[in-house]
Amino acid sequence: MSALTGTGTLVRLALRRDRLRLPIWVVVIPGLVTATASAIVELYPTMGERLALGLAIGANPALRALTGPIFDPSSAGGLTAWRVTGVAAVLTSLLSVLFVTRHTRAEEETGRAELIGAGTVGRHALPAAAVLVAGAANLAVALLSALGLATRGLPVSGALAFGLSVAGTGWVFTGVAALTAQLTETARAANAIALAALGLAFLLRAAGDAADGDTLSWLSPLGWAQRVRAFADERWTVFALFAVAAAALSAVAHLLAGRRDVGTGLLSSRRGPATAAPRLSGPTALAWRLHRGVLLGWVIAFAVVGAVFGALALSVGDIVDDNPQLAALMAGFGGAGAVVDAFLATVMSLLGMVAAGYAVQAALRPRAEEVAARAEPVLAAAVSRWRWPAGHLVWALGGATTVLAVAGLAAGLAHGIRVGDPAGQALRITGAALAQAPAVWVMAGVAVLLFGFVPRLTSLAWAVLGAFVLLGQLGRLLGIDERIQDLSPFAHLPRVPGGEATFGPLAWLVVVAAALVLAGLAGFRRRDLTGG
């Protein structure tokens, strides 16, 4: 029996388990790419229109930081690649990380891997099957995207380069997840480390692209995807970077897998105290123990991201000042100051959506506890049906608010030090960050509502969040009905700093969030505890 015996069977098992999940990702990502291409072809039919758009974009460092550089503004393909490479590459990386963890570390954590390992299955078969299926799914995304772009009349070689650049990023993060699955003992921690790597890749690319030189961008797989230059004289050599990185990560994961026992990680858990501290005495204290590690990670990440973008903000304004044409264009909107604010406002709205990811994850923690049968002993003690989930919600809502405040504070201080007004800027940008909170709370409310009434469908909360984020990113470009765009809580947030702070919509979002949370809690009080 070789170390890979049984891989074929496990591949079929993975495909069977994800027969709905995987096709959705594999169809939605190319669908978005194709729809974006359609919209650009339709909205900017002439070269003149495309060049005007391209120049405005290319000169705006804020946009460059968020979406990446534009390599060929003259063609519809170049514009499409600029607009959607980042989105597609991030989504494909997410797909890869979640899939690989779900089929490796999560299997070991639940003990199912033991059941499999006792059969005629080689010790590397489980990770190998997960990597194979994830790699194939990435390739499917690539080919379907290329097909979609080609049907919009874009050049085939560019379409193929685009698709493969997206898949290449996915392959790298498949390797990252294969590696983190070997490091940790829980699926939650494996996902957290891999997603932190994805966040770091985004940050490096954004910082690199906003600056004048792009050295930093070359450190990020997301940067490589753009530097394939699809539809702009493709550079096929960049694919060597993807291949080397993905192969190296997988090889290290493979080595580690051969050196440990089933169920254990390399970052093994230490011993704990023999008795509990006095404060560990209620459901909220227990929830704090369960949330604090993850929350600490988020606080650090948001502090770093806030500080980096805060420090970049002034340079963004400088670049506008250096460009007389752009300065003239921007003067109408308030000059370089307005550009700085617009940049910070964009960063804050992006961070708001990411913080919603934390909030949804934390608000769904009670469901995870319920499925793992850890809710039962707590609710069989003298803990009421509303106090237990409320204990988790304190950290979901409070934690999301905290990470936003930290990001705002860090950005404000970093920017404030450069303009000589740390206190004032800190206050102003923290306020802008906190203005995102009501929409984040609404997303947590959606998760709680699902938890209360349809516990088996709580993962829909992620689908809803994903849909709202995509609506915000691409909704206007794709010409989606405004009433649908308005369903997203993020559509009702003020553009701050810089824009007018309107409190009416914020108050409404708070009301909606409160109603969702209360309804969800009421639903949970009435229902049976259920398994997975």
Binding site: E185, T186, S269, R270, R271, G272, P273, A274, T275, A276, L280, S281, G282, P283, L286, R289, L290, G293, A372, A373, R374, E376, P377, V378, L379, A380, A381, A382, V383, S384, R385, D528, L529
Partner: protein
């Protein structure tokens, strides 16, 4: 309320989709007794306990726990009881000791001396993290947390699954002590020897309804005696006697089961045939159990 039952369930039903988990279940546990709740896997024992704990609502029927309503009065009732689930899952980031203290505090406090004593007796290391325990040790964590609590009622769902025989013996001693201290215990199990050794009364369930309930003596009274004998000559008419079942005749050796009413006639016939050796055994709960389910399944 002395004399009132600690647990009273009547005509309880609960469906999951098309499956009847509870199908008109009746159960009465007297205050101060150790009551065995016996049945094969999937008989509805855990569902009944979850209804009693207010984790689930029954579709119909009546359930009463310590004089209160399991769903409505859940929080007050849970201060007076401790529960050990059949499949104990601990928090990976909490040590066993932390989990014991937390579970105890959630229901209103632990007897610290008893906690230390139980850790010793169960030979449990409380400093390991939740994920590092074996199944048996996770079970011990939940048992220590429950047994060290000052409560009136213990609800134990197959509590010895995963314990080795040595620890099973410790568990039996502990339950006997709990009974001597006046606590009520509802012990769900499919391990017959355990119930036989510990319980005052037994309720046997299958497919969500009670097939038998009473003291062990009553249940034995209802049941047959196994007889093995060696005789001087082959007896005539044994098969025709009322109450004789499963007769096997092998020359002078006979083996059969007999209802209590038929014993007298059987013994007379055997002595006529000349008894050389005779063994009569009351059936073990094992046989009782197997017979009920074999008969009912057929």
């Amino acid at each position: 309320m002395p004399g009132s039952p600690a647990v009273l369930i009547s005509d309880l039903t609960k469906r999951f989709g098309g499956v009847h988990a509870l199908n008109g279940l009746n159960l009465s546990v007297r205050t101060g007794e150790v009551h065995g709740f016996l049945g094969p896997n999937g008989a509805g024992k855990t569902t009944a306990l979850r209804v009693l704990l207010g984790l689930m609502r029954a579709d119909s029927g009546h359930a009463e726990l310590l004089g209160g309503h399991p769903w409505r009065d859940a929080v007050e009732l849970h201060r007076r009881l401790a529960y050990v689930p059949g499949d104990v899952v601990l928090w990976p980031t909490l040590s066993g000791g932390e989990a014991i203290d937390l579970l105890g505090r959630l229901r209103g406090g632990l007897d610290l001396r008893r906690r230390a004593e139980l850790l010793e007796r169960f030979d449990l290391d409380p400093t390991k993290k939740g994920g590092a325990y074996s199944k048996g040790n996770r079970q011990k964590v939940a048992l220590v947390a429950a047994l060290a609590s000052n409560v009136e009622l213990l609800l134990l769902d197959e509590p010895t699954s995963g314990l080795d025989p040595l620890m099973e013996a410790v568990f039996r001693d502990c339950v006997a002590e709990e009974r001597d201290n006046g606590r009520t215990v509802l012990l769900s199990s499919h391990i017959l020897s355990e119930v036989e050794a510990l319980c005052d009364r037994v309720t046997i369930v299958r497919e969500g309804r009670v097939v038998e309930s009473g003291t062990l003596t009553q249940l034995r009274h209802l049941s047959r005696t196994s007889v093995t004998a060696e005789l001087a000559r082959t007896p005539d008419g044994l098969a025709a006697l009322p109450g004789v079942h499963d007769l096997v005749v092998d020359g002078p050796h006979v083996r059969f089961e007999v209802d209590p009413d038929g014993l007298d006639g059987v013994l007379r016939l055997l002595s006529e045939a000349g008894v050389r050796s005779l063994a009569c055994r009351p059936p073990s709960l094992e046989e009782l159990f197997l017979r009920h389910y074999r008969v009912n399944a057929a």
